[in-house]
């Protein structure tokens, strides 16, 4: 079942992938993001972030609210380069 459950659709990560890095000793979302690339695809973690945090909580015995999140980086949603053209100039 772990092998079939997709946690991160953008980077094609299964529950088994996430559990295996937890077993290897990675405990923070910052580290897991960088090693697995979860939260780094086009959805920027909208789907996987909560699921990975729940797995961290489950394996560490911590409360969900005590698990630190990653920095939310702009833009909020994907934006086409042409929408950015000609908008700003340096002062």
């Amino acid at each position: 079942m772990e092998e079939d459950t997709i946690v991160c659709r953008c980077e094609d990560l299964t529950l088994a992938d996430i559990r295996s890095v937890l077993q290897r000793g990675y405990t923070s979302l910052e580290e897991i993001k960088r090693i697995t690339r979860c939260c780094m695809g086009p959805c920027q973690g909208r789907t996987c972030r909560d699921l990975v945090v729940k797995e961290i909580a489950r394996s560490s015995g911590k409360k969900i609210e005590d698990i630190g999140l990653t920095v939310f980086r702009p833009p909020v949603k994907p934006i086409k380069i042409k929408c950015l053209l000609g908008v700003w100039e340096h002062e």
Binding site: E30, G41, R73, P75, P78, K80, I81, V87, H90
Partner: protein, 385 residues
């Protein structure tokens, strides 16, 4: 509680991890690596992940050539369980004037002198157009190209070193900031962490990047080092279409396609960028990138940006690293890489371990000593983005 170790390495970037790994291979001593946040949280994890041999100074060519050979073997050498994202798709450096082209020619000659197997060659406009048909070649007079340059995943390469280091007995403590360095006369005798712990050690390595100047002050050394923010953004993943990493030093622009298919786009803007310990990205950067990158490749206007971020260059007066011993016995430096440090870590990790063990390093790095600034012997590297 007071602890006693044989060496403390400060900084959990790829340099700190590579030093720890090499040092642990040479000796069975107790080695402790301390990182303020998490591994690769600083410049390593924020860099553009490039590796290249096309440099303009002898020392960088030697270090880069040795490092690329090590990157090619890294997975086997460190017995890492996965590929470190190595992709040798080449670097294409555009020339916009005859003088720039002449400089590339001289660099290529120097690279060949140092490494007979170096494959850097100069390309004419037709060859560039064949290699990257989507490129706007207006004003381009030629380019320098090396097919063995490319990409390595900074997180995985750092993790490969850290994992091997731990296996060799190194202890890595993340979320641990060094707040003071203790001296006994003119020699190092320990460090203090933010929790107030005192760790006694005769060896301290400062591999803290732009934050390293704060640590220098703790032992009375004023490092000629300042932070300079640089920014990048990444696109949605696309089908692989772009061969080499494209660099225009003339425009301060650089872009590439990663093994995940995303494009990483960067623009160097040292004139306007903040010179402080500020790792937050700016909205102005989005406009700069959009204008500059669609100039080089107009079809990029149709791709979507998914994330932007910033990181810090640890700039020195000649944009070269500072490596080796200092006036304080037991206090070693490996920082100041000014934006090209990630790719040189495999060679420097070994060199630092050799220096700390009192051996002759496999590449002579005396030109990168701290004293060069006092002696006025700067070795400017012109080829940085």
């Amino acid at each position: 509680m007071n602890e006693l170790v044989d060496a403390v390495i400060i900084g959990g970037g790829i340099h700190g991890c590579a030093i720890a790994c090499s040092l642990a291979q040479k000796s069975r001593q107790k080695i402790l690596l301390l990182e303020k946040k998490y591994l690769a949280a600083g410049a390593t994890g924020r860099c553009a992940a490039g590796i290249r041999q096309q440099f303009g100074t002898e020392i960088n060519i030697r270090l880069a050539t040795a490092s690329i050979k090590k990157f090619e073997q890294l997975q086997d050498e460190l017995d890492y369980h996965r590929n470190v994202g190595l992709l040798q798709h080449g670097y294409l450096m555009l020339a916009y004037s005859q003088s720039e082209l002449k400089q590339y020619q001289e660099n290529a000659l120097l690279q060949k002198q140092i490494d007979a197997n170096n494959q850097t060659s100069l390309l004419g406009v037709d060859e560039i157009s064949e290699m990257v048909p989507q490129l706007n070649l207006k004003g381009v007079v030629g380019a320098s190209y090396n097919p063995k340059d490319g990409h390595v995943d900074p997180f995985l390469a750092t993790d490969a070193y850290a994992t091997a280091a731990r296996r060799r007995g190194v202890e890595i403590r993340t979320d641990t900031e060094v707040t003071d360095i203790l001296l006994q006369g003119e020699r190092v005798c320990g460090v203090v962490t933010h929790k107030g712990e005192i760790i006694h050690t005769p060896v301290v390595v400062n591999a803290a990047g732009a934050f390293g100047s704060i640590l220098g002050k703790k032992v009375g050394i004023d490092l000629p080092l300042y932070p300079e923010r640089h920014q990048l953004l990444v696109s949605e993943p696309l089908e692989m279409f772009l061969g080499p990493t494209i660099i225009s030093f003339f425009h301060g622009a650089c872009f590439k396609q990663t093994p995940q298919g995303s494009l990483i786009l960067g623009v160097g803007d040292p004139q306007h960028e903040i010179k402080a310990l500020n790792e937050r990205s700016s909205w102005q950067f989005l406009g700069d990138v959009a204008r500059k990158l669609t100039y080089h490749m107009p079809l990029l206007e149709n791709i979507s940006v998914i994330r932007q971020w910033a990181g810090l260059y640890d700039m020195t007066p000649d944009a070269q690293g500072i490596v080796g011993e200092t006036g304080i016995e037991g206090f070693y430096l490996d920082l100041g890489w000014s934006g090209h440090g990630f790719q040189l870590a495999p060679a420097i990790g070994q060199i630092m371990a050799e220096i700390i063990c009192g051996e002759k390093p496999f590449i002579d790095v005396r030109v990168l000593s701290l004293e060069r600034f006092a002696r006025g012997e700067l070795i400017p590297e012109p080829y940085c983005v």
